[in-house]
């Protein structure tokens, strides 16, 4: 009974945090869609001019098709995340690399940030709530994007199988502003935030989601040098020391 109450409370927090994530994603995706539409309109103008000149327009048509498909995929991923069920009753075996790819797709078009990925294909499916884990990844990724700000930066995402204890981890390293020790100490506390308009729910919800998966979340950061978040999933109950993660 007590467990059910806790579950309900977590689900409510997950939904609230998801709405915040959706808002942040909507801002970044609408900016990207605007750029894609500007390109499509521009290619159409160029086609008009080339047709008048009797020039070849094959390249422009291919570019329009490519840009339209990219816009469509971006929008579909966003809708899928927005409409995804948040109260999945049971965990189902999921491929973590697929979830990483889906989360990455929604943010990787942020032009001034270089996204690098290194995914370990040896990881076998793990029982999890797909939407919740995607939310954890998006939350960490968007935090990285915000930490980088307007300047050029890099986000590296990596998945790796662990042999002992048997499991795997996902690490997300950003080249952003980093955090001081005081911030690091409180980072997973509910309502703790350093953002002007933050709710302080994001990382505490990530922490709870990971606990619900018998997993762990670690953070390493240095002011001015960036931050690395790692989430660890274990096939057996055994709390790993954070040093097992090869950051």
């Amino acid at each position: 009974m007590e467990n059910k109450k806790e579950q309900l409370s977590l689900n409510k927090k997950v939904i609230l945090q998801k709405l915040i994530t959706l808002g942040e994603l909507a801002a970044s995706i609408s900016h990207e869609l605007k750029n894609l539409l500007i390109s499509i309109t521009g290619y159409c103008d160029l086609i008009e001019e080339k047709l008048k000149d009797g020039a070849d327009i094959t390249q422009e048509i291919q570019n329009i098709k490519k840009t339209s498909l990219m816009s469509q995929k971006l929008f579909m991923e966003f809708l899928q995340f927005a409409r995804g069920k948040d109260d999945e009753a049971e965990k189902k075996p999921q491929n973590i690399n697929e979830i990483v790819e889906e989360a990455l797709f929604m943010v990787k078009n942020i032009k001034h940030i270089t996204f690098e990925k290194e995914l370990d294909a040896k990881i076998s499916p793990f029982p999890m709530h797909r939407q919740k884990i995607k939310q954890v990844l998006l939350n960490i990724l968007l935090n990285g994007v915000q930490a980088i700000g307007d300047k050029a930066g890099k986000i590296q995402i990596k998945t790796k199988l662990l042999e002992f204890p048997f499991g795997f981890y996902v690490s997300i390293a950003d080249s952003g502003c980093g955090m001081d020790k005081e911030t690091l100490k409180n980072i997973f506390q509910p309502f703790f935030t350093t953002k002007e308009k933050g709710t302080g729910l994001g990382l505490s919800v990530c922490y709870e989601i990971m606990s619900e998966h018998n997993g762990y979340i670690y953070v390493e950061s240095e002011k001015g040098k960036g931050t690395t978040f790692s989430i660890v999933f274990l096939y057996s109950r055994f709390k790993p020391h954070k040093d097992i993660i090869d950051l």
Partner: protein, 131 residues
């Protein structure tokens, strides 16, 4: 100097990781007698610029790796390019970005939706190539 080279009104370099703006500017400027080069990022842009010594360089404000402002600052440091005009562009010209661009050494700012005729006029004014 060949006859063809004599007719070139100026050399233009476009630095952008996305093909849309460079391909559009290439087609349109070439029709008006300019030679147009392109580079996919700031680092390559600097290498090409030092090689071809363009009269005008268009630089995208947002690029992965070295961003537009950084590229602009680095180009300004190249002695060979002291007579080259730098223009930054982005999808929207926010005053803060324009101010940043000018501070980094850009002489002007355009957006990706600025009509080509306006862009052409800016380049012609800079180079004194009025038709």
């Amino acid at each position: 100097m060949s006859e063809e080279e004599k007719q070139i009104k100026g050399k233009i370099l476009v630095i952008d990781d996305h093909p849309f703006f460079p391909s559009t500017l290439k087609y349109k400027f070439e029709k008006h007698g300019y030679e147009v080069f392109s580079a996919k990022d700031g680092a390559n842009g600097i290498i090409i610029a030092k090689k071809v010594i363009p009269d005008v360089i268009f630089i995208d404000y947002i690029m992965p790796g070295m961003d537009g402002i950084e590229t602009c600052k680095k180009l300004k440091q190249q002695k060979e390019l002291e007579k080259t005009y730098l223009l930054l562009y982005t999808s929207e010209a926010y005053p803060k970005i324009v101010a940043e661009a000018v501070k980094a050494g850009a002489v002007d700012f355009v957006t990706k939706t600025t009509p080509f005729e306006t862009i052409l006029k800016k380049v012609e004014n800079l180079l004194g190539n009025k038709q």
